[in-house]
Subunit: 351 residues, 2 copies
DNA sequence: CTGAAAGCGCTTACAG
DNA sequence: CTGAAAGCGCTTACAG
């Protein structure tokens, strides 16, 4: 009784903001002339068949009048779940991420699920961060983006996005199909000397591009000599350097298949350095369909990943995992978007 | 006693994950041979002068052994604050945002503050979203990025980032100084016909660029006729179109000062369309220093905003606002980064 | 169909 | 310096 936790009387400064005390379920109950339990039933969506339609109406109306919303923490504390899932990412500034997050958030909205974006600090690993978030009961479950956990047990329900590891459910892009589309586009244009500007990052998704690229060329009867490959670090400058190597080969490749738009942007820089006109003397294919592919000059032909859908499907898959029905969804198809960086090779490639 | 909220026994699936029950403060207390209150004191950082060093050690050790972390929701419920602040943004895919969020998160980490990224859905306005988050006690306070609220009262403590409105504390980039640096760079290179490719977005930050650009040219004795201006929508294609206009003027501007890297990327496309070599016959200045400026071909000279610092300062300012000491920090200086898209005009501009 | 009551795990005056 | 106790606002069997 002597007790007075006035956390929210501090709510006023900033805007001049009304320092209204939050109404509680009790107050709503009083106004509606029902018990607090009934109010809870209505707001937790468990009213069906337990509260009469008429009473539910009265409750909702009273709540509306008072501006009531259930207190998230009280609910979490009692029910043992936060209805928040974490999206752990190695790099929060990844241009792809915004769309994935948006897709996941929108998919969760209907079920009242919130997605929290979590980036482990530079000094911490994701495992530690995940365990802490789980232990603080800040999240119920998590999605790992582009992280391949070394061991098969995570501290809680987990889904991997664009990553694969033993014992985990993955939500993947169909990069094989995407690669086939990209390389097919170059073949259709008449290219034969199609080099691969890849990256040496560990995730499986990159290896899949490399092997599929090779397979498509094999099928077209193109030899390994005609189609060189260089693996670069995942950065503009690394890609630029690697592209320099590729472009100083004789005969020079007429097309570059790049593992990502970022690498393609680096290749564009290299072509510019060497005064090789794109697409007249060199075609460059990106991969992912980020803003970078649109903003590049010339605009990059690329294979677009359905980033929002990826996020949405990941969230739905995670929800099923939490229910114990873990089923991996089929890989999401990518879409070829030919733009200005690809064209037929200048003359039929000498054989 | 009949009561059994087993929220966390569901934690197992996904990874094979250990379904350890979370330890409570009580269990830590027992192991350490102290009361639960003492454990709480230690973990809420209020131990100084209230718990002996020796006891504190014992508590921490016991906690470590059990893997204890205070339950965030229990703490929130009791203390009346979440230690989470919202970062409300109109567009979660803005390439600038990642850095701002990172800065804010890192600045908050020391104080145990978490930053939640919130994007109102397409159909909802930010006010509604903010009120809901606040009412659900999901956040204590918020930062609005690039949103200028029409009215001076927000539903809770609020700080504006790169936006200005009556009655609110703002955290700003020094875009005037940035503009001076950008335009000064072009003047130093010898340009006189420096056009402005601006945007018609409402935030004050854009108007500041326009007026400062004009002022710098005035000071250099350059007339309005020599320095045309076009305002475009904030998109690549809009910028491309606007740049076309600017570049078909006679005499043609020798330099373009763009309000943002995105617009500069659009200008680069227009120059490419018209076969105007950059920087030989046209210099293009970006603004912001996003990935776009690095990935462009040629790389954009730009004025770099300290995005992480912006986020960090915003968070610190918000914390002070919540304490009632609202003081606007001084605008953060921007840094001129000359790259490959600017060079002296081809010949001394005729006058 | 509705209500009374216990209890989730903390924080916080207060008493000692 | 330490502990006992109340209570934050919900959810959830259980009884009626």
């Amino acid at each position: 009784m002597t007790d007075d936790p006035t956390g929210r009387s501090r709510r006023s400064p900033g805007g001049t903001g009304g320092a209204h005390r939050r109404p509680t379920g009790h107050e709503v109950a009083e106004l509606a002339g029902v018990s607090q339990s009934t109010v809870s039933l209505v707001f937790s969506g468990k009213a069906a068949g337990r509260v009469s339609a008429e009473v539910e109406q009265r409750v909702r109306h009273a709540a509306q009048q008072l501006g009531y919303r259930p207190h998230a923490s009280a609910s979490t504390l009692r029910a043992g779940r936060t209805r928040t899932v974490g999206l752990l990412v190695p790099d929060i500034t990844n241009p792809f991420l915004g769309h994935v997050l948006r897709g996941a958030q929108r998919a969760g909205r209907a079920d009242g699920i919130t997605v929290a974006l979590i980036e482990p600090g530079p000094e911490r690993n994701w495992q530690l961060t995940a365990v802490e978030a789980l232990n603080a009961a800040a999240i119920d479950a998590m999605m790992l983006f582009g992280i391949e956990p070394p061991l098969s047990d995570a501290p809680g329900p987990t889904v991997l996005i664009e990553a694969v590891a033993d014992g985990f459910t993955s939500v993947l892009l169909d990069v094989r199909q995407g690669t086939t589309a990209a390389v097919g586009h170059l073949l259709d244009l008449g290219h034969r000397r199609i080099a691969h500007l890849g990256t040496d990052l560990p995730p499986t998704t990159f290896k899949a591009r490399a092997s599929r690229w090779r397979r498509e060329l094999d099928r077209a009867g193109i030899t390994a000599t005609e189609s060189p490959e260089v693996l670069a670090g995942f950065s503009l400058q690394a890609a630029r350097g690697a592209a320099h190597q590729l472009l100083s080969l004789t005969p020079r490749p007429t097309a570059l298949f790049c593992d990502d738009d970022l690498l393609a942007a680096g290749a564009l820089m290299a072509a510019h350095d060497l005064r090789i006109p794109v697409p007249d003397e060199l075609s460059i294919m990106g991969f992912a369909g980020t803003l970078l592919s649109e903003a590049a000059t010339p605009q990059l032909s690329t294979v677009v990943a359905p980033a929002e859908e990826l996020g949405a499907v990941a969230l739905q898959t995670l929800l099923r995992t939490m229910d114990g029905h873990a089923t991996a969804p089929r890989p999401l198809p990518m879409t070829l978007v030919p733009r200005a960086s690809t064209a037929p090779p200048q003359r039929p490639s000498p054989r």
